[in-house]
Each structure stands twice: as C-alpha cells, then as structure tokens.
C-alpha cells in the first residue's frame, strides 16, 4: 500500500484575462504517492504547469483543497507557503533559474541555509551532491553565466535536492537542453528516484515521460486519464509502446 503524500479535492484554478475568467484547472481530485515518479502530460495550454505550481505551493488554488500529509496547503498564506516549499519541495525549472550573481556553490547554499544553520555540514553535502552530478570543484566556483546548459541544470537539480525535499517538482527540465544533455538530466532524476525521491514532472516529451512510473494526462483542466508504467528500467522494451498506446487513447 503506497503512502499518500499529497491529495487534492476539487482543486480548481481560474485566471481573469481581459475581463473573462479562464478556468485552467477544473475540480481536480488527485492523490500523489510517496516514492512515485509522476509525470504530468498534456497538450500546450492543458494546465500542466498550473497544476504543478498549485501542487507545489508556488501558486494558490482558486477553489478546492490541497493536502500535504495532514497539512492543508491551500489554506496557507504566502509566508507559510514559502516555509512549506523550503521544507518539503524541490524545484527544477526549464529555464533553470540560477541566481546569476551567485557562484554555483552559493546558489545551492542559498537554498540550503533556509533549513539549516550548519554551514559546514551543508557545504560538505552540497559539494558531495555536486560531485555526484558531475560538477567539478573548479566549476563549483564559477558563476551561472559561465556554465553550459547541462551543467546549469545539474546544478539546478542539486539545488532542488539540497534540503532533502519530500517531493521534487520538475517543470520541463529538459525543455531547454540538447539531446545528450537531456539524457544526462533524465538519468540523474531517475537515479534520485531510484534512491527513493518522489518526483512530479511536467513534460510533453515522450522520452522524458518514459522515466515516470505513473503518467497523468491532462486535457482542458481535467485529468483525462492515467497510466501505470511501472518502475523504469532500461530493459523494459514494451514501456514505450504502452505509453504510446495510452497517449493515443488520450488523443495525443
């Protein structure tokens, strides 16, 4: 029996645009489980990113509730949400969003120091993680503008993981990367998932989606269907077919 990490009840999000309301998420009931690699797919404008940001406490829902374990996230104010994010969530963005004025190590320290005051231990952990994702000590001193896209995204992943989040949210993490670098990043995410990290990833890339064990398909603000792909292994040759069939069923 999987443990429910997050649960939504009739989660809705609407935006006002030019005097008319756009209902981006419509009464979504969803459970996310610990240890899952959940992939949210859908066409452009389906509400994938909106759902991700609502789940991660980056945005507040218009209606409905969002629970994280026993905490009601949807009732929190902005500062409480900030504390929730730093304690339970990690983020990997398509545009990476490292702070240009800080070195690689400082980017990670700036996130880590929000939850601990033990700089020495934090620094050691950051270096260890950076080394684990292939960032050399020399690169750790560099500034983001001096990094390649792949390097920057790997640093982004380390920053997301530095506080040992309960969930790692990734929004199109490979969207701005070339093919080989994308593969490296996906391997890293898979590697951390294999170590027990819960991941929620938004993507419209089939190759990325294959890494998830649970695929949710979003269309016009509702979850149209979901597919259980099982844990990712390189040997699973049928995985691609199963996903393609599911997506074709969903009208992809």
């Amino acid at each position: 029996m999987k443990k429910v990490l997050m649960k939504t009840d009739r989660l809705s999000k609407s935006f006002s645009s030019g005097g008319t309301m756009q209902h981006v998420l419509k009464n979504i009931d969803l459970e996310l489980y610990q240890g899952d690699f959940t992939v949210i797919m859908g066409a452009s404008g389906a509400g994938k990113s909106t759902l991700l940001y609502a789940l991660s406490g980056m945005d507040t829902p218009t209606l409905g509730t969002l629970m994280f374990c026993d905490q009601e996230i949807s009732a929190m104010n902005q500062d409480e949400l900030a504390v929730f994010r730093r304690s339970h969530c990690g983020f990997v963005f398509q545009q990476i969003y490292l702070i240009d004025s800080m070195s690689v190590l400082d980017n990670i320290m700036a996130a880590g120091l929000l939850t601990t005051k033990n700089k020495k231990a934090l620094s050691a952990k950051a270096r260890e993680l950076l080394a684990a994702v292939g960032i050399s000590p020399a690169t750790q001193k560099k500034f983001p503008t001096q990094l390649s896209g792949g390097e920057a995204q790997r640093v982004g992943i380390v920053r997301a993981l530095i506080n040992q989040p309960d969930v790692l949210f990734a929004d199109e993490p490979t969207g701005a990367l070339n093919s080989q670098t994308s593969l490296d990043v996906l391997n890293l995410l898979t590697q951390f998932h294999d170590q027990g990290q819960s991941v929620v990833m938004v993507t419209h890339d089939l190759r990325s989606a294959l890494r998830g064990n649970r695929i949710l398909y979003l269309k016009d603000g509702i979850i149209l269907g979901e597919c259980d792909l099982g844990r990712y292994t390189t040997e699973d040759q049928k995985r691609h077919e199963r996903l393609s069939a599911f997506l074709s069923q969903m009208g992809w």
């Binding site: 304690s87 983020f91 400082d106 700036a110 929000l114 700089k119």
Partner: protein, 794 residues
C-alpha cells in the same frame, strides 16, 4: 529657404522619433522619474529662494534707501551750536566725496524699551515728526499713522502685539522713563532698527518740546550725508568723527554708515542665504547623482532594447536625444513648478527676515534669479545626461541584443556563503551591495550631505537654540547681567559699594570708547581694568589680553585687513594724543564690523581721562536685574548715566535669531528626511527592478517576503552607515571652519561652537534607523513579486 525644408523635416522627424522613445521610457520608469521630479523640485525651490534672497533682498534695501533719499553717513553730535554746524559744513563741503548733506535738530540719548520679551537698547535720536518728514535727506516713510496729535512714532521693526497703535510705550531715556502713546510706525533705512547703531524715534511736537525742556536727552545736531560713492561711507564717517573729536574732544556723538547698516540689518538674510544655498546645492548634487545612476541603470537593464532600436536604424544621437528630452524636459518643467512654489513660499521667508531687517519687502517677479535657476538646473541636468549617456555611442546592436541584462562580469565571489559568518540575509545583502557600486555612490553622496546637515543642526541646536551663550560669545562678545555707566566722580564709591554688595558676584570695568588708528580709521576700543575677569575669554583667539599700559589686542579681521600681527606696533589716537602700543593678541568680534580693539584702562588713560565708565556686573541667580538697576540709579541720583539689563537686551534681539534658526533647523531636518526617503525610493525601485528575477527565484526556493524585504533593505546599509559615520565625523571637524567662512564678512575668523557629539551620534543613529525603516517600507513591493508570475513570464 527651400534648402532648409529637408533639414527641418529631417530634424523634426528625428525629434519626433526621439520624443517617442523618451515618452516610452518616461512611462516605463514612472517611479524613478517621480523621485527625480521631487528632488529637482526641491532643488529648484531652494535655488530660487536662495537667489531671490541673495540677489534681490539686500538690493531692496538700496531701492528703499534711494526712494527715501537715505543717508550714506549719519552723525549725531550732542551739540546744537551754530559753530559745530559751520565747522562740519566746512569739512563736508571741502570733501570731494560729499554729494549732498542735511542738518537737523535732534535730541540724543541712549535709551531702551521693553520689546519681544526682553529689552531693546540703542542710541536714540528723537526727532520732531513734521521736521523729520520734511527732511530732504534720510526721509522716513510712514507705514502706519493713526493721525492723532500726541504721541510717538516708532520704527516698523518694533510693531508687535505689545507695541501697537493705541497702546502706550515706556521709553527709558538715559535713566528717565517716559511714557507715550504709540501713534504709528515708520520705515527708515539708516536709523530704523537697533542694528543700525543709531535709532530714530519721532515725537509729536508737544512731546518733543517736553523732552527738550526736561533735558533728559541732550540737544544735538543730526548730520545726514549722501556721498558720490557709497563705498566711502566708512572712511567719511571716520573722517567726520575724527574732525569732531579733534575740535570737540568732550562732546558725545554717535554715527552709522551705509557699510555698517547694510551688513548689520541683513545678518539673518546672510545666514539664511548661506543655509539655503548649501541646501540647494546639496539637493542638486543628489538629484544629479540620482539621474546619472538612473541613466546608467537604464542603459544596462535595457541593453537589449537599445540593441533592437539600433538594429532597426535608430542612431546613437537619436537615443541620446531621447534621454535629453526625458531629463531635460523633466528638469525644465519641474523647475518652473519649483520656481512657482518658491514664489509662493517667499512671503513666509520674508516674514522671518523682516523681523530682523525691519525693511518692508515687496515681492515681485524677478527675471534674473528665475532665469539663473532655470539655467543652473536645466544646464547641470543636461550636462550630466550628456556625460552619462555618451556610452550609448559604444553600444553595438548585436552585442547588446545578445547580452541583454547580463552585462555583469562576476570574477570574484567576495562573500562565499559557505565561509561567511554573517546571517543569511546579511550575507546575501552584502553580496548585492558589493556588486552595486552605483547604489553605494548615490547613497554615500546623499548621506555625506545629510550628515553635514545633521551636524549643522546639532551645532545650531546646542549653540543657539537650547543655549545661546556660544552664539552670543561669538557674535556679541562679552555678556554679563547688568551694565551700569557711572560718572567719574562716584566711580570709586560705586565700585567699593558693588564689591561689598553680596548680590554682586563680579564687577569689572568694561567700557567702550572710540579711538583712531593712525589718526584715520575709527576703532571701537573696549577697556577693562582686568581682562581676567571677563566672562568670555574665547574672544581672544590668538595671543593674550593686554595687561600693561603699552599693550593692545585687535580684531583678527582688522589685523588681516591691515597686515598687522601679534608683536606689531600700532599707533592709536584719542583726545588729541597719539601713543604706540604693541599688539599682544587677536580677538574675534562683530562689533563695528570687526574694527575693534581691547586696551587696559591704564593703557587708554595714557591718551586721556575717562569721564564716565561702564561696569559689567554679574549678579546672583535670584536677583531681579531690573530692580537692582533701579535701586542703583536711585542710590546715585544724576550720577548714573545708563543702566542696561543685558540679559533682557539679549533676550529681546536674540529671540529673532533663535526663532529663525529653529525654523531653519526644523525645515532642513524635514527636508533631509524627505531627500533620503526619495533617494531610497528611487534606489529601492531600481533595485527591485534589477533583482525581480532573483527575488522570484528565491521566493520559489522558500524565502519569505520578510526575509527578502530585510535583505533588500540591508543591501543599502553598509554604504549608508559608513557614509553617515564619515559624514558625521567629517562634518564635526569642518562645521566650525565652515560657519566661520560664512560669517567672515561680519568679522568672524574662528568659530568655536560646541559640536554636540551626543546629539550628532543620536541623530546619526536616528537617520540610519529612519533610512533603514524607509528602505524596509519601500521594499514592501517585494510582496507583489510572486514566484509563479516570474516563472511564467519568460
């Protein structure tokens, strides 16, 4: 003509295009432009007020002087004989500098009356009203006249709640109180205030005749002289006094000159003018620094936009022209508004000034100060725009498009977070501080200027507002509780009695008398039997007081003007005798505009005997000075010439300066708060625009709004604290020389005001805390930075 058209069309087209860019930029940076608008508005207002005060206020005296056909030299001699008149007439007619002169009968005596919570004391010249109005030179202008037949007319400056038409006034003439009905007020340029050395009072015929009959004020002759060159007023005054002294050595006289009056009636104008000019230039410099910072920021932050504009064909000249239009346009329009506000505020300033000058000022449009304000402000803005915008010339469109905002080159990580011991918010703030030198320079210049203002306010508060003693010591010189002038015949009896009187804590001779240097220049000599007894030894700024009968100390200003120094010899003439003295010290005094000297009594008596002498007395705290003076007058009938309650006299005239300075100090402190608020507003806005992306990321990572507000506010603190401390220390060191420089024209060469380090420390801390609070409040906009908005924007 036809050849001009393509040029005009082209130029007009260019202007239109530049205008479009300027308008778009203006719209985009409304907040920053608002701060620039406020700073320029304040600078324009201050500049205009200063220029109006400096360029027209004193000139108003000249206009008034001309309108009333005022004297350049006014001399009253306690002698109404035809012989004296003939003698001086001859002197005047034979002197080529005399343009015209008039002679009038008058009564002359030192006198005083209650005024402004104290006592006004001056050399009073009583004139019969109708005769005064008919004078060809030195006319008086009736400002208010009840038209009644019996009473007194006073100079306009003394009109107050207590001294008003219909009320009575008691004037102590010599030692005789006379009560009159106040019938009106008049304006006299040369004798319309106690600051003029001579003060005219008009009596109706009955009272004039009464006073003449009573003999309380000796009959005198009043000489009014107009000169071909007003610059000669002091030397003609000295010549006349020398002539009278030589011919009539025992005759009392009093005089004043255009040079003395124009300075002494405009001390408040000079102080106010100095403060306004300093504030105007401080604010202007801050506004210019802010504009430079804005332009540099704008170029950096919108480098990609510049690249696009250049790529589509805009020339650097057009882009620079748009900046000229934006800032030049703001400067010009705001300057016009600032100037208008200055015209609106000037009557308030005028009310404060008139309390000291006593000359009515009619405000009018002043083209020259207005034009100068526009030129200085718009000119300096255009200059700094040109200096800071020329880098647009070097922007290559491709490079600009590629680089966009990321023009920084981070080579050093000065505050590594893994090694820093500072708390997280402070460490992050320091990182931003070290990468934003523009902000630091703007903050530093602003805080240096404002710290100096704080120091000035502290010094004024300590030395003028809370306790006037330091100011009085510098401006007035010696002060005591009472001054009693006695005839020589009772001197020793009086001195012995006072020495034994337990109400008297100290008594010493402190008598002023006129002498001449090299038989030409009139000096006011102050005599004492023992200078160690004086209350204000600070008057001696170099060397020592004269002890022996061959010694003299002179005013430092006069020494500078004449090339004399300690150890030099100088020849003094009085009573027809000439003695050479050695200079032992240099003093600082504003008496007689610095033409002043100190001599021991024995030293003066080598030139002649004293027929009367003034003693200064310090009384016990609980003694009523007026009652004491009255008792002494009654004890020695007809032997006491004058008694002065010095405390009261000082309170009467000093309160004007105190209120003026209080208003100015409050105004400049409020202004400082406004300036720092707007500078911070501008910097915080710029910083938030600059850091918006980073703050969005940090919010996404879990930073709370409070943490980011604190971090943003802390970013400004290092430059702010360091410059405030440097400004406070530097200001404390330079404030006294600076004040001395401002007051040098009235004889001040060294200023020793107490620099209240406690006040300055507290005020600096308050200023820093105020700035920090404002930075936090202004950073509240961070609340509106939502991580999601930032993430979905790109």
């Amino acid at each position: 003509m036809n050849g001009c058209r393509p040029f005009c069309r082209r130029w007009g087209g260019n202007m239109r295009r530049s205008f479009l860019i300027a308008a778009s930029r203006f719209h985009r940076a409304k907040g920053q432009n608002f701060a620039v608008v406020v700073l320029i508005l304040l600078a324009a207002c201050m500049l205009q007020l200063w220029l109006m005060l400096a360029m027209d206020y004193k000139q108003n005296f000249d206009r008034c002087h001309e309108a009333l056909h005022g004297e350049d030299v006014l001399l009253v001699v306690d002698d109404d004989t035809a012989e004296l008149s003939e003698y001086l007439t001859q002197k005047l007619e034979s002197d080529g500098r005399t343009r015209e002169y008039s002679i009038a009968d008058a009564l002359h005596m030192r006198g005083g009356f209650d005024y402004n919570g104290g006592e006004m004391n001056a050399e009073m010249v009583f004139l019969e009203k109708e005769a005064a109005l008919a004078r060809s030179i030195g006319r008086v202008e009736m400002i208010e006249d009840s038209g009644k037949e019996s009473g007194v007319y006073l100079p306009l400056i003394y009109q107050s709640d207590d001294i008003a038409i219909g009320k009575t006034i008691t004037i102590t003439i010599g030692s005789h109180p006379m009560t009159y009905s106040v019938l009106g007020f008049f304006n006299s340029t040369m004798a319309g205030s106690n600051n003029c050395a001579i003060m005219e009072i008009l009596l109706t015929k009955d009272h004039y005749q009464e006073l003449e009959t009573l003999g309380y004020a000796p009959k005198a002759t009043l000489f009014g002289i107009r000169l071909s060159d007003q610059g000669e007023s002091e030397s003609v005054e000295a010549m006349l006094k020398n002539a009278v002294s030589a011919q009539y050595p025992d005759t009392h006289m009093a005089s004043t000159s255009y040079a003395l009056v124009t300075v002494s009636r405009y001390i408040s104008q000079m102080i106010c003018s100095g403060i306004l000019s300093a504030m105007a230039f401080f604010i202007l410099v801050i506004a210019l620094v802010v504009i430079v910072s804005n332009i540099i920021n704008d170029i950096q932050e919108h480098m990609d936009e510049l690249g696009i504009l250049k790529a589509v064909g805009y020339t650097s000249r057009q882009l620079i022209a748009s900046l000229f239009m934006q800032y030049g346009g703001i400067a010009f329009l705001v300057c016009l508004v600032g100037v208008s506000i200055a015209y609106g505020l000037f009557p308030l300033l005028n009310t404060m000034m008139e309390a000291q000058t006593g000359i009515p000022y009619n405000m009018r449009f002043l083209p020259l100060p207005t034009l100068l304000t526009l030129l200085i402000l718009v000119g300096s803005v255009v200059l700094v725009v040109w200096l800071s915008a020329h880098r647009i010339n070097h922007v290559d469109p491709i490079v600009a498009l590629r680089q966009g905002i990321s023009t920084h080159n981070f080579k050093r990580n000065r505050i590594p977070l893994d090694q820093s011991h500072a708390p997280l918010s402070l460490a992050l703030a320091l990182k931003t501080t070290l990468s934003g030198m523009k902000y630091n320079v703007t903050i530093a210049i602003t805080m240096l200027a404002l710290s100096l203002v704080v120091v000035f306010s502290g010094v004024m508060w300590k030395s003028m507002i809370s306790d006037m003693t330091p100011f009085l010591n510098m401006i007035v010189g010696e002060t005591a509780d009472s001054c009693i002038n006695v005839n020589e015949s009772i001197e020793s009896k009086f001195y012995d009695a006072m020495s034994e009187d337990d109400r008297v804590e100290k008594i010493y001779l402190y008598h002023s008398i006129e002498v001449r240097h090299e038989d030409e220049i009139g000096l006011l000599a102050t005599l004492s039997d023992d200078f160690t007894k004086v209350n204000n030894a600070n008057v001696m700024i170099e060397g020592r007081f004269p002890r022996y009968d061959n010694e003299i100390a002179i005013a430092a200003k006069y020494a500078n003007e004449t090339g004399l120094h300690i150890g030099s010899e100088m020849t003094i003439t009085a009573n027809g005798n000439q003695i050479t003295y050695i200079i032992t010290g240099l003093t600082q005094t504003t008496n007689n505009l610095g033409k002043d000297c100190l001599m021991s009594r024995a030293g003066y008596e080598r030139l002649g005997e004293l027929t009367n002498m003034s003693y200064y007395l310090d009384l016990r705290e609980d003694i009523d000075i007026d009652a004491f003076n009255t008792e002494i007058k009654d004890r020695y009938p007809n032997q006491i010439n004058t008694t002065i309650n010095i405390d009261s006299v000082i309170a009467g005239s000093a309160s004007i300066y105190v209120s003026l300075m209080t208003v100015l100090v409050i105004a400049i402190l409020i202004l400082s708060a406004v300036i720092i608020t707007f500078v911070l507003y501008l910097l915080v806005r710029t910083m938030l625009n600059h850091q918006k992306r980073d703050y969005g990321i940090m919010k996404a990572l879990g930073y709370t709004t409070g943490q980011l507000i604190l971090q943003n506010a802390l970013t400004f603190m290092p430059a702010l604290i360091i410059s405030a401390i440097i400004g406070a220390i530097g200001g404390s060191v330079i404030i006294n020389p600076l004040i001395a420089l401002f007051l040098s024209s009235i004889g001040i060469v060294k200023c020793s005001f107490i620099v209240p380090l406690d006040f300055i420390s507290v005020a600096t801390v308050v200023l820093i805390l105020f700035a920090f609070t404002m930075a936090c409040l202004l950073s509240l906009k961070i609340r509106k930075i939502a991580p999601r908005t930032m993430l979905t924007q790109e």
